[in-house]
């Protein structure tokens, strides 16, 4: 079971890295590097080799490379996300048309986040497995418990994905209507107020649980 968690965790982290790298490939920064080196294979190999080398060094020194992989994925994917910022577009002037569409970039970024979260969850399940086995709990029972926990986590993932798809449909398609400047400002302000209220509401709810 521990080996299974380890394999799944590695696969999830590696998949997150691949997604992050795909996102990076369609960024102005990558094209800039391509212009400097002159070879796409060379650039890809150099980036991946550097990432692999750094991961190996971090693993050798801390015996846990996952936090570094997480940072690396975020670093690689951020240029792709930032490219779609209207503010930066106005200042620097990216040629967004030649890159991935905003919908695909957004979905890939979401997938990467979920993969990283899953890898983190698998790590915590692996630790839990070790703790429970150390406490002399029956192995079959531990398997059953962790399977149930994993199922519950998958339910959370699927719920979040559905929620994300609904939100992206709402955000990218429904709101892509032509409207006056005033209506856009009002909708944006309402959105900000609604979202911040949501965060404050849930935060307050948590704060009221003083006995935890």
């Amino acid at each position: 079971m521990k080996l299974l968690f380890l394999c799944l965790r590695t696969v999830a982290a590696f998949s997150a890295y691949i997604v992050a790298f795909i996102l990076f490939q369609y960024t102005p920064l990558f094209h800039l590097l391509l212009n400097i080196t002159g070879s796409s294979i060379g650039t890809i190999t150099a980036i991946n080799l550097t990432a692999a080398l750094l991961t190996a060094i971090i693993y050798m020194s801390t015996r846990n490379a996952f936090p570094f992989v997480r940072i690396m994925c975020v670093v690689l994917s951020i240029p792709a996300v930032v490219s779609y910022s209207k503010l930066l577009d106005k200042i620097i002037g990216f040629d967004i048309q030649s890159y991935l569409s905003i919908n695909i970039t957004s979905f890939l970024f979401f997938i990467m986040i979920m993969l990283l979260l899953t890898a983190g969850k698998l790590k915590s399940l692996e630790d839990e497995w070790e703790t429970l086995i150390e406490n002399k709990t029956c192995e079959e029972e531990v398997k059953k418990i962790l399977r149930s926990r994993m199922k519950f986590y998958l339910f959370f993932c699927s719920f979040t994905t559905v929620f994300y798809i609904v939100m992206s449909l709402f955000g990218f398609i429904v709101l892509d209507m032509k409207g006056s400047e005033q209506s856009i400002i009002i909708i944006a302000a309402l959105g900000v107020i609604l979202f911040i209220s949501l965060i404050i509401f849930i935060y307050k709810k948590w704060s009221s649980l003083v006995d935890i």
């Binding site: 930032v82 209207k86 905003i102 429970l132 059953k144 986590y153 944006a188 979202f195 849930i202 948590w206």
Partner: protein, 438 residues
Amino acid sequence: MPGFVLRTSTISLTMLLAGFLFANNILILTSFVPLCYLAFGYFIKVPGNIEVKKSISRNRIIGGELLEVKLKASVEAGFGILEICDVVPPHFELVEGSNYKVIWKGMERGEIYLRYTIKCTTSGTYPMNATKWKARHSICSFSEYGQCENDISVEVSPRLLELRKVRGMSAANKIPMPQGALSSMGMNTNEFKELRLYSPGDSFKSINWKVTSRSLLRGNVWPVVNEFEREGKKSVWIFLDTSRTMNFGSNVRNVKEYSIEAVNSLSDYYLKHNCSVAFLTYGHSTIAINGGSGRNQYYRILKELIKIKDKKSEPYNIKANFLTLYDAVNSYRQHFLGMRPLFVIITRFCTNNYDEVKKGIERMSRYTIRKGALPSVMVVNIDGYGLMAENQAEKLASNLLDSMNRIISKEVRKNCIWIDWDPARESLTEAIIKQVVS
């Protein structure tokens, strides 16, 4: 509030504000992911409403006996992993089963059954009232802790060592007996001893009619009589050392526990031989039970012996003046006059208490008579070094220290009946017979 709530809220808010600042739709959209995580964490509760029903096979056991514990816990609300652990006092040893269980609490009502057997070798009153639980959240990485309490406790009496198994008269006669009794069947005194069932030959005057009528209601037709102390009983005074030198050994096997068992066995032995037994402690705690006989006196001593273990946990006050053996003998000297009792001292002899034991024996020898060359003072010295020895080298070292103690105690040994008892090697009976006979 768990730290992850603050972290997740901050991430979500930062992403949202960055999204609005840079006019980035992707950042605004993905800021919903941590918010979902937070919402799941709040709206899906950890397992709660836990009720525990616990029972033990007996409330009173003798040291070394097994105790069966049954526990049923029910979980009404929440989702997630629930770990439950029934707290076992530190002096207990788990023999069978487990006092820990973990379950997954899903939609249905969760039930946990625990059944285990424990053994305790040290006397005392132990509370078994706590059952701890830890509930982990099904999605988020935080746990809630709690404790269910009840009023269950168990009283562990010290073991009765094998003194009563001495059958042969030659051996039994060698166990020191007090010399001071004028007659073993004396006149009745006014001191109430106990209630017992009527036996042929008892005076009708001695029947306790109130108790008899009460027992009649319970279906017992046999009359109950009052028994009074008789004059001329042989008197034994047991002195137990409760000083810091006795706290030697592990939690399960220690000198203090063996000393308590020795007092228990000796008092049982002498009371069964129709002696009046008094019990005193010196060193740390002061317990004094004046002379008496019969089973009531045995239970009185046993009750105090159980308390000694509990007093062990009290911190030692260096500045406090504790009663020495000499002081204890001196303060009760009025009770010894004319009685010529047998004094029994139970201690762990070492260089620290050399003077104390010597002075105490000298003082005792004033109030007792000599049996041959020795006064009626018996010292049971518990050799504790053997209890801590685990390997050959440690055993060798413990033997060396025991030998050194024998050399140091050479002077003191001349003035009393000295019994060296190593609980790791022999029983108390063997130690007494071996050394008294020799």
